[in-house]
């Protein structure tokens, strides 16, 4: 039985080494029930390796990972009860039809999974191709079949590794809608993705990994607030306003452009700035907050700032942390 009060995913000090290469370097993850949790990172950051360890496919060199309180290494297949998904592209037997593939997987699931085959084919809109051999399926169809195979297990936790990769725009949209609907049904989703707009649209919490280390874990809204607490200001006299802004405490990165002033500050500093502008008899025409996009934050955290690039796990992580700190993002560890 799945432990109801245990978090869907809890990883502690997870490490995976391949000889001298550290693919995953002391990663902690905390996926809570109901999360749509984005797992982000550049290629080779250790995302897929981490997911493999979570599903019990590979053994951690150090640390533990538990799914609903169960460690796949200790509990075997029982640890995967209520858990489904795929890492990398979903794989099927090319010489069997889609239906036979799902019948096989349903047989390996037990628990009446076979009775849900028609239902999951409907969900992923593959009913018409159910009798066709998977060997002739397009990449997108295999991705959809992968989702169908996962849904057979009636998961409480769905682990998806790049589910939209290789899909056309329509397929990507449908995938996003499906994930949102599954999340709406109460399924916790751990979504590894390169598609930053997808993550920004779907996820409420994220972990960003770089060179095997988590450089941020937390609410996406917090990350955007902390990392991108920027403001755009238009006044009756932007040139004089810039001088006031530059003199104001706790305001950074002030600049002037075609559309007025830009700066970063917390709310308290903005309040004091408005009073200072009033004292200088400069009228505020518009003051709008501008949250950084996930893409801005992602590159800031994983490339150590604009144009920067880490060399090796430690340097990269330090670079990311440094950059994140200056921009207000609080990195993990």
């Amino acid at each position: 039985m799945v432990a109801d009060d245990a978090p869907p995913v809890k990883a502690r000090d997870l490490v995976k080494r391949y000889d001298d290469v550290v693919a995953v370097d002391h990663i902690d993850l905390n996926v809570q029930a109901g999360d749509v949790y984005g797992f982000l990172g550049p290629n080779g950051a250790g995302k897929t390796t981490t997911l493999r360890m979570a599903l019990g496919l590979i053994t951690p060199s150090e640390g533990t990972v538990e799914l609903f309180g169960r460690d796949p290494l200790r509990h075997g297949a029982r640890a995967l009860q209520g858990v489904a998904g795929f890492v990398e592209a979903p794989r099927f037997y090319p010489y069997l039809s889609a239906r036979k593939n799902l019948e096989l997987l349903a047989a390996l699931d037990g628990d009446g999974a076979r009775e849900r085959i028609a239902e999951v084919f409907e969900i992923v809109e593959l009913t018409a191709r159910a009798k066709h051999r998977v060997g002739g399926f397009s990449h997108g169809m295999r991705q959809r079949l992968g989702i169908a195979a996962a849904l057979l297990r009636r998961p409480r936790l769905l682990i998806l590794d790049e589910p939209a990769t290789g899909l056309d725009p329509g397929g990507m949209r449908d995938m996003r809608l499906l994930i949102r609907r599954l999340a709406g049904d109460g399924i916790t989703v751990l979504l590894s993705s390169h598609q930053l707009p997808e993550v920004q649209e779907l996820c409420d919490r994220v972990a960003i990994v770089d060179s095997g280390r988590v450089v941020y874990e937390g609410a996406l809204a917090d990350l955007r607030r902390q990392g991108g607490a920027g403001y755009r200001l238009r006044t009756s006299d932007d040139a004089r306003a810039l001088e006031v802004v530059r003199k104001a405490p706790s305001i950074e990165h002030a600049s002037i452009g075609e559309h007025g002033l830009g700066f970063q500050a917390d709310e308290r500093a903005v309040g004091e700035l408005s009073l200072a502008l009033a004292r200088e008899r400069i009228a505020i025409l518009a003051l709008t907050p501008e949250l950084a996009t996930l893409e801005d934050l992602f590159f800031r955290l994983t490339e150590g700032g604009e144009g920067g690039s880490g060399n090796g796990a430690a340097e990269s992580s330090a670079g990311a942390a440094s950059s994140a700190t200056t921009s207000g993002v609080v990195p993990v560890g």
Binding site: G85, L104, A107, I123
Partner: protein, 294 residues
């Protein structure tokens, strides 16, 4: 995908304490996978075609050609009893062809799934790794068993059709009736399974450890060839009784009167010395290995 439409929850909540599938279920699906692959029938095809070729060629030879220069009592009986055919086929195929047929599947059964990435697909379902390995090993064993008996059945049918269902003379010169001869033929094939399933065990081990189908098939046949060579090396005569390849002829004991159980029992424990560590090591490797292929 039909996610956008407003409708009830996509899937009901999972039942608590769901029943997990048995190893028998996993094994049945291993068999279904086997019969869906062409290479499965390549081995069966060889097991069928070779006895047929043998019978056709022998039928075309002049009667006085049979048995000349042969050291086997059964060669001289080819045209006298159809039951000599399955015995001779077992004699010919047991050394190389049947081990090859067994290795074709046993050497592929884990490595193929690893290479295609389907191993991770089935290992993320509700079955333990031990169940998957056991089912795969049993499927490979059943395949080897079917290949042997298929070959024997075809050889018997073809031989009897060509030369009749007649009594046959055993290694010890005793004439046995046709029904008893038929029983002995299939019993001999059953005894031959002891070393053959040992070869299959080695192939399963190689399939698990090398993750490469070709290497596993070639490797297991390589082991057989290596042991044949070792058996020929002067000075190693004392080792010969303990070589796996020497057990390929243990079935001869059944075709003697009285039955010589000595080589059969010897074959049992010698083969166990090869098969048990192979399967045990394969099992442990499979339980602990990283599955990252595909």
């Amino acid at each position: 995908m039909s996610a956008a439409s407003a409708s009830p929850p996509l899937l009901a909540a999972p039942a608590a304490g769901a029943r997990r599938p048995s190893t028998l279920t996993v094994w049945r699906w291993e068999l279904r996978k086997l019969i869906s692959q062409k290479r499965t029938f390549l081995g069966f095809g060889l097991a069928v075609v070779l006895p047929l070729i043998f019978v056709i060629v022998q039928s075309l030879r002049e009667p006085h050609d049979h048995g000349h220069g042969s050291d086997s009592i059964f060669t001289s009986q080819i045209t006298q009893s159809g039951l000599a055919t399955p015995v001779l086929m077992l004699h010919f195929l047991s050394v190389f062809m049947l081990p090859l047929i067994a290795s074709l599947v046993a050497g592929d059964i884990v490595a193929n799934e690893d290479g295609n990435g389907t191993l991770k697909t089935i290992l993320t379902r509700s079955v333990d790794r031990g169940q998957v390995f056991t089912a795969k090993a049993l499927a490979a064993m059943l395949y080897a068993t079917l290949a042997v008996f298929l070959s024997a059945a075809v050889a018997t049918a073809a031989g009897v059709a060509a030369w009749g269902f007649n009594s046959i003379t055993t290694f010890s010169g005793t004439v046995v009736s046709a029904p008893k001869g038929l029983l002995l033929v299939f019993a001999a094939n059953a005894v031959y399974l002891i070393p053959l399933l040992t070869v299959a065990s080695i192939a399963v081990l190689l399939s698990t450890t090398t993750r490469n189908s070709a290497a596993s098939v070639v490797g297991s046949i390589g082991v057989v060839i290596l042991l044949f060579i070792v058996a020929q090396i002067p000075g190693l005569e004392g080792v010969r009784p303990y070589l796996l390849t020497e057990q390929f002829e243990a079935w001869h004991g059944l075709l003697r009167t009285p039955t010589d159980w000595g080589p059969i029992l010897h074959s049992l424990w010698v083969c166990a010395l090869y098969a048990v560590p192979s399967l045990g090591a394969g099992y442990l490797v499979f339980l602990r290995r990283d599955v990252a292929g595909g």
